[in-house]
Amino acid sequence: VRWASEARERARALVHRSREEAELEEELRFHLEMETEKNVRSGMSREEAARRARLAFGGLEGHREAVRDARGVPVLEELWLDGRYAARSLLRGGSLPWVVVATLALGLGASVAIFSAGRALVTHPVPYPAPERLLSVELSGPRGVGLLPREEDLSVWRREAASLVTLAGHTLGPRIAGNGERSTHTWSLEVTGEWFGVLGANPRLGRTLVPADAAPEVEPVAVISHRLWHELYGGDERVLGRALHLGGRMHTIVGVLAAGHAFPAPVDAWVPLAGASGAAPRAEPRHLSVIGRLAPGADRREVGVALSAVQRALDAERPEAERASTAEILPLPGREGEQHRTALLLLLGAVLFLLLIGTANAAGLMTTRALDRRREMGIRASLGAGRFRLVRQLLVESLLLALVAGAAGVLVAYLTLLAIRHGAPGSLTGQVLGWDRLGLDGTALGFALALSVLTGLLFGLAPALGAVGRNVGAALRAGTAAATEDRGRGRATRALLALEVTLSLTLLLGAGLLARSLGNLMGADPGFRADGVIVMEWSLPRDRFAEPEARRAVQRSLLERVEAMPGVAEAGLASNLPTTLPGFGRRREYRQAGEAEESFSAHWRPVSPEYLTALGVPLKRGRAFGAGDGQGAPRVAIVSESLARRHWRDGANPVGERLIVGEDEWTVVGVAGDVHHFGTGFGPPPTLYVPQEQDPSISGFLAARVDGGGAELGRGLRQEFWSVDAGIAVGQPRSMQREIRDFLADQRMMAYLMSVYAAMALVITVISLYTMVAHSVVRRRRELGIRLALGARPARVVAAALRPGLAWVGAGLLAGILLSAALAQGMAGLLHGVAPLDPVVFLLLPAAVLTLALIAALIPARHATRQNPVETLRTD
């Protein structure tokens, strides 16, 4: 029963805490009174009796403390008491605590937001069963990394590595899908039969694709995404069996994927790989992206070794330049996922810096605050409060601040995520799996809580320990009365300030590099004129336009119609736009006639004669295509400058030279200016332009240079296409500038977020500096006042007030430059046309920070000279 009564006592104590306290108070008072009376009886005066009684009794606070400890439930209730005391003291603490809360909330919020984004994108990228067994395979070799295997090689891989891994391949299919009445711009994927089996994606309706669907005699079938099901078929449950027009070909819908199961994310339709069974031998090898699922017991490394061996055997019979025998096993989102990972890591680093700056700032402010309160601590200590008790009190204050900041941070994170989700246009949101799941969940909230507590401890502990010295007497004497500043105690705050300067400068420099890189990308001469150009994607029905002659005819009439439209200055057709990513679009192997067997690869662009002029691509040598370059005429090509440089040195004229592509010989008739692909790290790709008439493509883009007329004209363009042939699928007309902007969305997002974080960091640092100098001036006002009273010139007094802070700012700047120089090397892959040690960025930004620091420090410092010395000397 002992434990029972003990538990009862504890429970009672918890419930009746305040009554217990009052009773203890009364009991102790009673004791004192009795002692006093006893002393009176022994002949002392009442006053003396009371004094002796108190002396005999000892420190009241200590007794209360000891009884509370003995009562056995100190933790909860004392924390409650501490919390209440902390709240009161913080509310009385002026603006300082709020500065801490605000700066920490920014850091915490940004961290939680990026943590959530990172988790959504990196940890849970795919919604399929056993995602850790999913992988993608790429090849690397002398030609580079991220290469895709040939279709026929994949069949060999599948056979040879069947015990380790199930493999499937896919390639991008047509981009325009319709239901027979309306069409929409989308992505489709042609997949091998095992593809859905590897992925394990669930259908919402019907089934996914199976190997039998790829047989040549089977009617074409398609699986569509949840999104497309709603967009084209209104979410109709009876959609199975209906027709999907994809790239102008009819497909029967056999399944609808569950929401969120689309892979890769922007794809809306999946169809069997055309000709996968090998019915029609292909003129050129087709390359496929490869995904796979590990067999039980197999590991990724094994698969990599096995596939590399298989590929080496296949490559042995091929020319050196085509070899790529190292199979790289990547997690499923593949290299794109990797790139986003790098970007996310950079952002994560940025927000952690921001959080560190906030924490350092908080530590600095809390130190300042704790020092201001040393007298209070001294008084409490002399009343009998234990050292641990006081440290705990200060820690509880820090934790309370951190938790308030954490709560505000969650709000900041929510808003940040909202901004990311809605602010990032198509390319980012579309290409990244899991982007739609971006949000705050329990884990993110737990992370926020843990981070807040950690931060609170981090910035609270040192100031608390420092403030509660062992020497009560010194603490009591400490206070604002001292004429000069205590040297040792200012140092910690200044070191923290230096750390803040270092970190925020590093962030700023990183953001500066990215911003300059973005500026280069947007401002660089792309090699063509985007303004005033409207582009529109189109695709011909495959079955009716199988014959090149049919394609030629329809393209001719399309161009005639468009060129006749009022407002259209020039119009051209091309198989691809310059904004096509390097991995997409058609490439062909070629060699120089009369040269060795060595073959090269180039972008293959069938274009109509006006295309280059419409896009403003300059002709550097030779002639443009003309009406004479039709079918039956000698095959002609225009090469890009980069391709010309590859083969003809020192400006030798390539016009008249001949190139062998496949079986045919093409004569170079001109050299076009280089057109830059946008994006980091991509130079102008070597390109071969050939006349559409000589190789008419089945799908492509229209580029029209217009004199105003925007949306109206856009609608007109689609009508003209449909009046030629209602079966042509047509995408949304867009301005070329918009294409470029969307294309750069990722870089814009990165530069934007980094700039925002860097700006936040700078604001926090400047506030920190201002507060520190302001406090230092207040603490030293007697000293400064004495100097002024003794006739020091105000300028010298300002300098004296500034000196300690600015020296540390300088040290911080230097450290920041060195740290950035080291870190910038890791960013090189994200930079375009900017050296990692770009002198403009590395000179301008530190100078700007120094200027801001000077201003922030000057305001309070000048205040010191404005005061009346007499007034100052009189203050405590």
Partner: protein
């Protein structure tokens, strides 16, 4: 507070034993207990209030004593403590243990003469 040479500060366990003993005579308030211990020990033991009240709290927590608010002879409200049945048993146990150990200590201290 400085302690006189002939006064001894009580060990925690000893203080609790003395408190139980004191309360076995009659229910008493904290001040009374401290006075009584001082008296009974002929002023050898000075009871430190800093130990007394936590000790009372501990004894209460163990269920050996109970407390209630009563009015004193000169009409003041005070918290009185009284021994519980468990407290009485504990006192008997403690006393036996004390006697055993103090006899043992006496023997050790008296050894020099006993066998000479």
């Amino acid at each position: 507070m400085p302690m006189a040479r002939d006064q001894t500060e009580l060990l925690q366990g000893t203080l609790e034993l003395l408190v139980l003993k004191t309360l076995s005579l009659e229910p008493m308030h904290g001040w009374g207990i401290s006075q009584r211990i001082q008296q009974m020990s002929s002023d050898v033991f000075q009871v430190n209030q800093g130990s007394l009240y936590p000790a009372l709290q501990r004894l209460k927590g163990k269920g050996w004593i109970a407390s209630e608010w009563r009015v004193t002879e000169n009409n003041r409200r005070a918290r009185f403590y009284a021994l519980t049945a468990a407290g009485e048993r504990e006192l008997a146990r403690e006393r036996a243990a004390w006697e055993r150990s103090s006899t043992a200590v006496d023997r050790v201290l008296g050894w020099g003469g006993g066998f000479a």
